[in-house]
């Protein structure tokens, strides 16, 4: 075990996978000498050279489209999109191409690749450096979507993503890069895709979250413990494929479900989780499936007062838990 920041764990995961398999390459904007704008890939260019760590032009569709072709050609590309906000020019390549390649060729082709992107607000990034974009991609069969919340999960899940035979989007909350630390196991461990984790056992209310919100959910659980409310927190880790069993098992036990996400509320990923719980655990529910999510404005505003208003935080979650517990 070693204590690592979130960003160190991701970097270690990349380095170790590149060492293990020479077909793993990194490509993206400023990922080379500079090591990425957040320094996730710091040092990897020195270690692996020009062919394995490629500074691309400022062309997101190219980064993803070229990764698809490179994957067909036997490489295992790990593409970095500098900010999740700027992944939209590559939407067509992800949705029409990467996601559909296996299905449309009846398993003749596949695109084993990882797309990493920092997402999320609370860092004074305003409208175009704060977005949560997971819902666009969890909607698409053929793509897998992973959002880790701990250094240990980040490293183990990233390994699984790189070894996976399908395209995976791996979103990293940028506020967590240096603020989150945790113990990371030694050796070549992996964390399987499609498995959620109960990070705080409880009996009265299930809170389902991922990414930064998984941390805030834990803080909220501590706050309401003082009010005598016992909360079970489920950290989804993989959004698609969703670990329905862990979610439903928890809700069937507690009878109450609060889904938390940072993205805009309307049509967000948590809406799907809420629908599944309502459909498949209805008989066990002792209250409405509720959501705490970002307000429906087109982006996170810059001014700190406005940004604080936008962001879901532990107190807003705790409020939601108290209301649901009292229902």
């Amino acid at each position: 075990m070693a204590l690592k920041t979130f960003i160190e764990a991701i970097r270690d995961g990349l380095r170790e996978e590149m060492t293990r398999d020479e077909n793993v390459i990194i490509l993206g904007e400023d990922v080379g000498k500079k090591g990425g704008v957040f320094l996730v890939t710091d040092g990897l260019w020195d270690e692996f050279g020009d062919d394995r760590v490629i500074d691309t032009p400022l062309t997101e569709s190219q980064i993803i489209g070229t990764s698809i072709g490179a994957a067909i050609g036997g490489l295992r590309p790990v593409a970095e999109i500098q900010f999740a906000d700027f992944i939209h020019p590559a939407f067509n390549q992800l949705v029409s191409e990467a996601a559909r390649l296996r299905y449309r060729s009846n398993n003749g082709y596949s695109a084993p690749m990882v797309v990493r992107a920092p997402y999320g607000g609370g860092v004074h990034g305003a409208l175009y450096h704060s977005q949560s974009v997971e819902a666009f991609y969890t909607h698409v069969p053929g793509l897998k979507v992973v959002i880790p919340s701990t250094p240990s999960d980040a490293k183990g899940l990233l390994r699984s993503c790189i070894r996976d035979d399908d395209p995976v989007l791996f979103f990293e909350h940028k506020k967590m890069y240096r603020s989150v630390r945790g113990n990371v196991p030694d050796g070549e461990y992996t964390v399987p895709l499609g498995k959620a984790q109960v990070t705080h056992p409880g009996t009265q209310v299930t809170v389902i979250a991922y990414g930064l919100m998984a941390h805030y959910a834990l803080e909220a659980a501590d706050r309401v413990a003082d009010d005598g409310i016992s909360v079970e927190v489920v950290d989804l880790r993989t959004l698609r494929p969703l670990d329905k069993e862990t979610v439903l098992d928890s809700v069937r036990k507690t009878g109450k479900c609060l889904v938390v996400y940072e993205d805009n509320r309307f049509g967000g990923y948590g809406a799907e989780v809420a629908a599944i719980v309502a459909e498949e655990a209805f008989d066990y529910l002792d209250g409405p499936v509720t959501r705490i999510a970002g307000p429906d404005v087109p982006g996170v505003p810059y001014n700190h007062v406005l940004e604080d208003w936008f962001m879901v935080n532990p107190e807003k979650i705790a409020d939601g838990i108290r209301k649901l517990a009292a229902y």
Binding site: I72, L75, R104, N106
Partner: protein, 382 residues
């Protein structure tokens, strides 16, 4: 593709000494190779014509045609090494796919969308060919996306030092897409073994070249990327071969990408759903017939003494037989079963990907919708 299939060689063996120092010799093409190229051009045309007949007979709902493009396709594909190099084709690439190893049966099962269709198992519309066995990347519908896949294949070839070349093809209208700019720029920066073919038929559905391409030359745009841009007469099979051969040599030598614009003609409507007399004049349609590569290549080979009456008779008979066989075969192939429809979303079956409440039972069919569609198609095929 320096190597001709043994069967084709055997078939045309008697003619191998028919043209001592003539046609193709400067390009290093033997008489046997010329005959095989001719067979492929004529085969692609015959398969294509059969598709239209089947469409009008109500057997297949949709045709998208390569007629007029076959000469460029065979000439260019011939310069690649089959089973080694990569092609990311487009929907008119019937002759390309046949030249790179797909069979008339493979093409025809795609028209019928049978379970055995090797391109997609009946999942895609006709024209969306692909074959991993033959290094032909699966075609999708959004135009120009495939350019980046070919660039990625070229990147992989360079990094893995495989010696492969990756080539992609699209129309001139599609070449305006942003992915083309992003991909050419990247391929040129990294001097990738990549070839970009534009089959310029003067139209993107109904919109003519002048309204699609400023300056009316795609090849000229190559200059901006610092790569060669070549314009070639797409009805001249050997000129197309020569241009592609040079591009392949450059690519293999590490000298980077080449853009080749082949001027072709579209002899049919955009598809079976299009009526091109609405936007193309009778005179234009008549005069463009002179750009048909099939009679042109045939005459060239006859004049050179390569295509003898005997050889032509043999080739024609073999093509007839193979088109007939492909049609009969595809007609008899079963539809895919709904129980397979959730397969291959991912490599594994994921329990959380929920099947629909109506399950994965028998096909229900849609006779009403099918009839409507057939009517619309009849209309456009007038």
């Amino acid at each position: 593709m320096a190597v001709t299939e043994p069967s084709a060689k055997a078939k045309s063996g008697a003619d191998s000494d028919a043209s001592p120092a003539a046609l193709g010799a400067d390009l290093g093409l033997s008489g046997d190779e010329l005959l095989e190229m001719y067979r492929l051009v004529a085969l692609a045309r015959a398969v294509d014509e059969r598709m239209w007949i089947l469409n009008r007979a109500g057997r297949i709902p949709f045709v998208i045609s390569g007629q007029g493009h076959e000469g460029a396709q065979v000439g260019i594909t011939w310069a690649l090494e089959k089973g080694k190099d990569w092609i990311a084709p487009f929907y008119r690439s019937i002759a390309t796919c046949l030249t790179f190893g797909m069979s008339p049966r493979d093409i025809m099962t795609a028209q019928y969308a049978t379970a055995s269709d090797p391109s997609s198992g009946g999942r895609q519309m006709p024209g969306h060919y692909g074959s991993h066995e033959h290094n032909l990347v699966s075609v999708s519908s959004p135009v120009a996306t495939q350019l980046l896949h070919a660039v990625g294949l070229a990147l992989a070839a360079k990094i893995r030092k495989t010696g492969q070349v990756a080539l992609t093809i699209m129309g001139e209208g599609s070449s305006n897409q942003g992915d083309v700019h992003e991909g050419l720029n990247f391929a040129a920066i990294h001097k990738l073994p990549f070839i970009f073919i534009v089959e310029n038929n003067g139209y993107a559905i109904s919109v003519p070249l002048a309204r699609q391409v400023a300056g009316e030359s795609v090849a000229n745009r190559a200059e901006g990327y610092g790569i060669p841009g070549v314009t070639v007469d797409g009805s001249d099979v050997l000129a197309c071969y020569a241009a592609a051969r040079d591009a392949v040599a450059r690519a293999r030598a590490g000298d980077g990408p080449t853009l080749i614009e082949a001027k072709v003609t579209r002899l049919t409507g955009h598809s079976s759903d299009d009526q091109q007399t609405k936007y193309r004049s009778e005179e234009e349609l008549t005069s463009e017939k002179s750009l048909d590569p099939v009679p042109k290549f045939r005459q060239q080979l006859v004049d050179a003494g390569v295509l003898t009456p005997d050889a032509e008779e043999r080739i024609d008979a073999a093509i007839k037989e193979s088109v007939h066989d492909a049609t009969e075969y595809a007609e008899a192939q079963p539809d895919p079963h709904p129980s397979t429809a959730m397969k291959w979303v991912y490599a594994e079956d994921w329990p959380s990907e929920t099947p629909p409440p109506w399950g994965l039972g028998e096909a229900t069919g849609d006779p009403a919708g099918a009839a409507e569609a057939a009517e619309a198609i009849d209309e456009s095929a007038h």
